[in-house]
């Protein structure tokens, strides 16, 4: 019986980590993983650049005056947004692979909180979003077609980047919700729908009124108007901000909810 006191552990020195386990080592390792995944990295850079080269340089409208610059610049911003949300969605959706590998279950055996994990994954996805956005802006700059003041190149790029956070949460949520085998096919398809509904590819004024009304409630609508606002200079509508913030809350909340539930064995 005397051995028991030796075996009795001192529990008083044990603490749970602050910030739910969020730390820079994990962030660094997650970004390193992302950079190793070259296929996703290239895909999310090449696709929006290809779209820009196809639609953003057409001489029949590209040089026409628009906002504080020309139509080519407007299209560049649109496609940078599309590329960026495609990238952050892909980044977020990578959790479906982690889930299939049992990694998210493994993390449940560590102090890492679901909220901290969601934050890490969203920040990591933003790195992917930045690479896509940068590719579009660099190619745009090289072609010499898009025209707007230098400060607007910086300001619109920042808006696109920060805004793409909404879709990092979307990818994360869907990555937990959908089966791994076809999560990216489904997400790519929904992004195209959201892009049309949000007026990213074609201005909403070209669509029937009913479609325009419904469009106001879709996830890319608010973001699309917000990222073009500095360029167009017409002010910011509260409805756009509300749209983006509410969708962010839905996606991030959904992701945290699914992560908490996600302990299934593989």
């Amino acid at each position: 019986m005397s051995t028991r006191s030796l075996a009795t552990p001192d529990l008083t020195t044990r603490r749970a980590p602050g910030l739910g386990g969020f730390n820079l080592t994990v962030l660094r390792l997650e970004i390193r993983r992302l950079l190793r995944n070259r296929r996703t990295l290239l895909f999310t850079m090449v696709l929006p650049v290809f779209f820009f080269l196809t639609f953003g340089l057409n001489s029949s409208y590209a040089n026409a005056q628009d906002g504080h610059g020309n139509v080519s610049a407007f299209i560049m911003i649109s496609l940078a947004l599309y590329g960026s949300v495609l990238a952050t969605t892909s980044g977020g959706a990578m959790v479906s692979i982690e889930r299939a590998a049992g990694w998210s279950r493994q993390l449940r055996l560590t102090p890492l909180s679901p909220v901290a994990y969601v934050a890490i994954k969203m920040l990591t996805a933003l790195v992917l979003g930045l690479s896509s956005l940068t590719a579009v802006y660099i190619v745009g700059g090289i072609t010499g077609k898009p025209s707007m003041p230098v400060y607007l190149w910086v300001v619109t790029a920042l808006c696109v980047w920060v805004g793409s956070l909404v879709f990092a949460a979307y990818g994360l949520f869907m990555g937990y919700l959908l089966p791994t085998e076809n999560v990216m096919q489904i997400l790519s398809f929904t992004l195209v729908l959201f892009a049309f509904a949000g007026g990213v590819f074609i201005p909403l004024s070209q669509f029937p009124q009913l479609f325009q009304t419904i469009a106001q409630y879709t996830p890319l609508y608010g973001l699309n108007y917000l990222v073009h606002a500095p360029f167009l200079g017409g002010g910011v509508h509260l409805a756009w901000v509300a749209n983006a913030v509410i969708w962010l809350a839905i996606f991030a909340g959904g992701a945290a909810w699914r992560l908490r539930k996600d302990t299934a064995r593989v």
């Binding site: 028991r4 009795t8 080592t25 190793r36 990694w103 449940r108 055996l109």
Partner: protein, 329 residues
């Protein structure tokens, strides 16, 4: 710090810190009841084996202890806390049998990742060395063999220097050498007084590494004691003979016979006094081709956990009543 007699501090005496305390735990998945009223008290420092066939409820019980699932009824406490609280403090870690690794990280990166999540950790290099994988720290996890991946899971579980280590069939799929190396590492480690609970299919693992063996069957504990106590449940020998037109009831009446079974012309008599049974068969009946065999832990395991164990009547002496046989000490 050797705590080889950890079960000497049974919880029944009301003292000692309980590493695991399950009371009346039930777990149902729809209509299927995987865990049916498990009461389990494991004192700090014990090395305990969960033995049972697939579907016995080992994994469901472990999931409850780890907070990965919540019991349908009953309470669970780990070092007096909710499982999740104990995990947040790095008190509990587990080695799962499959999954839980990212292929695109290296072995060293996986350990760093895990280490960064805890407030207090052993150095990554030390833990990799203890798990015997220091030389492959730069290898991608996807390129590691099954045994190497399992050692990595073990290394990850050591990082937080847990007080309780749970191993869910840790050596499944390993070759003999891999299993031996893995257990050598665990044994070296538990010499420091860590509480260990491991689930296994391998009887010899339970026999060799556990202070206490808990047999599970259909979500219930059917035996609980040291390996020699569990073996004693199946003590005695089986006498087998060829005997035409035998009557099972008459055979059971033989002095010294505990149970009897008739399979065509073959009779099987289980007895703690096989000599008396053999003498009776050879002198008082036309029995021939006599064979006497001893029962080992494996037989105890089969007798206590097989589906027909309680229905066949031949092991009625080791039925439900054996629960917690160790408590009498």
């Amino acid at each position: 710090m050797h705590v080889t007699s950890g079960h000497g501090s049974r919880p029944d005496d009301g003292t000692g810190l309980l590493a695991i305390d399950l009371r009346g735990v039930h777990k149902s998945f729809g209509a299927v009841e995987a865990v049916k009223g498990v009461n389990l008290a494991i004192t700090a420092g014990e090395v305990v084996a969960f033995l049972g066939p697939n579907g016995a409820g080992k994994t469901s019980t472990i999931d409850i202890i780890l907070g990965l699932s919540t019991p349908t009824a009953g309470t669970v406490s780990v070092f007096g806390m909710q499982p999740r609280q104990a995990i947040s403090r790095g008190l509990v870690s587990a080695v799962m049998q499959t999954g839980g690794l990212l292929k695109d990280l290296t072995v060293g990166e996986t350990a760093q990742y895990t280490a960064s999540l805890f407030t207090q950790t052993r150095p990554v290099a030390e833990v990799l060395h203890r798990a015997g994988i220091a030389d492959i720290a730069n290898r991608r996890v996807g390129k590691c063999s099954g045994g190497e991946q399992q050692r990595l899971r073990f290394a990850m579980s050591l990082l937080s220097d847990p007080e309780l280590l749970i191993l869910d069939e840790p050596t499944t799929g390993m070759d003999v050498e891999g299993r031996r190396g893995f257990w050598a590492a665990i044994r070296h480690d538990t010499a420091e007084g860590r509480t260990v609970l491991f689930a296994t299919h391998y009887l010899e693992e339970a026999d060799a590494y556990a202070d206490r063996i808990i047999l599970l069957r259909h979500g219930e504990i059917v035996a609980d004691g040291t390996s020699s106590e569990v073996k004693a449940l199946a003590a005695g020998r089986t006498v087998r003979a060829t005997l035409a037109n035998a009557d099972a009831a008459a055979l059971r009446a033989i002095p010294g016979a505990d149970s009897a079974e008739v399979r065509g012309e073959t009779v099987l008599i289980h007895s703690t006094d096989s000599d008396a049974v053999a003498r009776y068969l050879l002198t008082s009946t036309p029995a021939r081709d006599l064979e006497i065999t001893a029962r080992g832990l494996e037989d105890a395991f089969i007798a206590l956990t097989s589906d027909d164990a309680h229905d066949a009547g031949d092991t009625g002496d080791t039925g439900q009543s054996v629960t917690n046989i160790g408590a009498s000490r």
